[in-house]
């Protein structure tokens, strides 16, 4: 993985001391909250329902063991013994004291971490494929390009005060595992017929209040011009984005209102201008970055078979493991969704344990997934059973990846000051009710948001749930048919909402409609797309 150079470390260390001074001035009364608020948000520190919340950046979801040790220690020392992995592949802590925040940032800096740009109207943490560098289907490892974007976008003077927040994702395979087209800018690294690398640029996607699927605005930008093109996209947005109305300020509204063709025309004009300015990072820098993402020293000629005689292990392998590009290895997803648990939460001990396991079994690498799980990307198959036994013994062996118990849920009204309804209790009830039927139901991605901001990606769930406030009472809308993959689609609302218990029953009814109408190997999403909304509405409201 990428390691800081002297410049990176100095920038992070300087920011820690700058924030320490800002906190001191706030506590001494020299800074009012109106002045301090944007400063703390620039350092990932929110004020939530119960306390300050610190969101820590995990660039493209990549972590090592030393970082996990510090993340676990922060949970114990400064929080209440746990952390919450988020849908932007970050981690956040819910019980932070303002006076501790500078020390936490200092601890993070010792392992090359920070909380820059995890809030505010800037370019947020760039996300990527959690199987990058391991997946057999990728054109190239997307992480060097994500890292280049991280360096370009971090404290970029022109893009620190955008009309609204700005999210980017980079993938390098046709199987989209990062919800790429639901980002402000999505990038797919591709190869053309001549074998040259390029970036397919998608702009104007997003979830939230007005969900949009990003259209492709340029199918092939030469890879040596990717940053210049992204800068052109940002410049046009920064110039014309709606600063008068925060609900219409995201780039998706601009692309929609201008139209894809006009937005693209303006981007191309800006791009042509920027090419004359030579703003692209030197090719040597990309090559330097790539060296950090070289394959680990895989063993060759090792067995590629698994002993599947333990049925519980075999089930977990079939559910939670992905074929690796290197024979003899496998990519492992550790589910943070135990039955009835809180999606994305991990105890300090579990965080440290996963770090230890990465060091022992996965070349010291972990990934946070946007579905709030953890990946060990490079596990030798010969070690898999031993690894699984440790995971099982520590509540980390749930075999439910992409099944109905693998629910994405935002913190909701239990923690978040923006939420209208609780997400986690709904996830827990659905998990408890339907996890016993996971094998029968098969792949079903269920996503829950506690408000219209859609941190729980409800628009992209095969089944989505949106919590709303109906005259002070929690109410839940049901959506069907969303998908975040290469065939991205947005879920459609079934009809009137349900109360907390009602939404659990409604989800169960939806699965029963699917099972009654399923043909062959169809997934829930396939059946929904074939039969449409009507049979589901009939079952729910008829």
């Amino acid at each position: 993985m990428y390691r800081y150079d002297q410049y990176d470390q100095a920038m992070v260390d300087t920011r820690v001391e700058e924030f320490r001074d800002q906190v001191r001035r706030r506590l001494e009364g020299h800074l009012p909250e109106e002045a301090f608020r944007p400063l703390r948000l620039m350092n990932g520190l929110y004020l939530q329902l119960h306390a300050y919340m610190l969101r820590v950046a995990v660039p493209y979801g990549t972590l090592n063991s030393a970082q996990m040790q510090v993340l676990g220690d922060i949970a114990d020392k400064y929080d209440r013994g746990y952390g919450h992995f988020t849908t932007r592949q970050n981690i956040q802590y819910n019980w932070i004291k303002l006076e501790d925040a500078p020390d936490i940032l200092a601890d993070l800096a010792t392992v090359e971490m920070h909380a820059f740009q995890t809030s505010g109207n800037c370019i947020r943490n760039t996300t990527s494929d959690q199987y990058a560098g391991a997946a057999a289907d990728e054109v190239v490892d997307p992480r060097p390009y994500a890292e280049l974007i991280r360096q370009w976008s971090t404290v970029h003077p022109e893009f620190n005060f955008l009309p609204r927040k700005f999210k980017m994702a980079v993938i390098a395979s046709d199987t989209d595992r990062a919800a790429m087209r639901l980002h402000d800018i999505g990038i797919q690294i591709v190869k053309n017929e001549s074998g040259e690398l390029g970036a397919a640029l998608y702009a104007g996607g997003g979830m939230g209040r007005t969900p949009m699927i990003a259209p492709c605005i340029n199918p092939f930008v030469p890879i040596g011009q990717m940053i210049t093109y992204a800068e052109a996209c940002l410049r046009v947005y920064n110039r014309h984005g709606r600063r008068d109305n925060k609900y219409k300020a995201r780039i998706k509204i601009l692309v929609h209102e201008l139209g894809k063709d006009e937005y693209t025309r303006q981007v191309e004009a800006e791009f042509a201008h920027l090419l004359t300015q030579n703003i692209e990072p030197p090719a040597a820098e990309l090559e330097r970055i790539k060296t950090f993402f070289a394959d680990p020293p895989f063993e060759t000629g090792i067995p590629d078979e698994l002993d599947r005689s333990d049925p519980a292990f075999a089930r977990w392998v079939d559910t939670n493991c992905l074929t690796h590009k290197q024979p003899g290895y496998i990519a492992v997803t550790i589910s943070l969704k135990p039955v009835g648990g809180i999606p994305g939460d991990a105890s300090a001990d579990q965080i440290r344990l996963m770090g230890d396991l990465a060091k022992q079994y996965s070349f010291d690498e972990l990934r946070v997934t946007h579905a709030q799980n953890i990946v060990l990307p490079h596990v030798k198959k010969a070690d898999l059973y031993a690894l699984w036994q440790v995971l099982e013994a520590n509540g980390l062996g749930t075999p439910n990846l992409d099944l109905i118990g693998d629910i994405i849920a935002c913190p909701g009204l239990d923690y978040c000051s923006l939420a209208n309804a609780r997400s986690i209790p709904v996830a827990q009830k659905i998990s408890e009710r339907l996890a016993p039927r996971e094998a029968e139901i098969g792949e079903l991605k269920l996503k829950i948001s506690g408000c219209i901001n859609a941190c729980g990606h409800h628009h992209a769930g095969h089944i989505g749930i949106l919590g709303v406030d109906r005259k002070g009472v929690e109410n839940y809308q049901l959506l069907l048919g969303g998908c975040e993959g290469a065939d991205t689609s947005l879920g459609q609302i079934t009809g009137p909402g349900f109360d907390e218990d009602g939404i659990v029953g409604a989800v169960e009814k939806a699965t029963e409609v699917y099972l009654a109408n399923k043909q062959g190997e169809e997934r829930f999403l396939d059946t929904y797309r074939r039969i449409g909304m009507a049979p589901f509405k009939e079952a729910l409201y008829g």
């Binding site: 004020l47 329902l49 306390a51 932070i96 004291k97 809180i342 239990d414 609780r422 827990q428």
Partner: protein
């Protein structure tokens, strides 16, 4: 009744105006009547509270109960982690929120 709530500046803990100072317990909250703005301005300026605001509440046999679920969750703690609420020994405490 109108009561005042905010967060402790240093710790971020949820606090309630008890007529003299800021308490961690909603049952200590007092009706501030028409004086909310005056108290809020004074307490914010003194840095004894952060992001404070006035809310509607009722007082019944169970104590002071904020009108909105969001403030009841703030008063108790996350309903999904009873061990982290102000009443960790009371398994029924979450029912007060709903």
């Amino acid at each position: 009744m109108k009561i005042l709530t905010g967060n402790d500046l240093k710790t971020g803990a949820v606090t309630w105006w008890d007529g003299v100072q800021w308490s961690l317990h909603v049952e200590d909250a007092v009706d501030v009547g028409e004086h909310a703005d005056t108290i809020l301005a004074r307490e914010e300026a003194a840095r004894r509270v952060n992001s404070a605001y006035a809310i509607d509440a009722v007082k019944d046999e169970t104590g002071v109960r904020p009108a909105h679920i969001k403030d009841r969750i703030r008063a108790l703690g996350p309903t999904v982690r009873p061990d982290l609420t102000l009443k960790p020994a009371d398994p029924e405490a979450g029912n007060w929120v709903i």
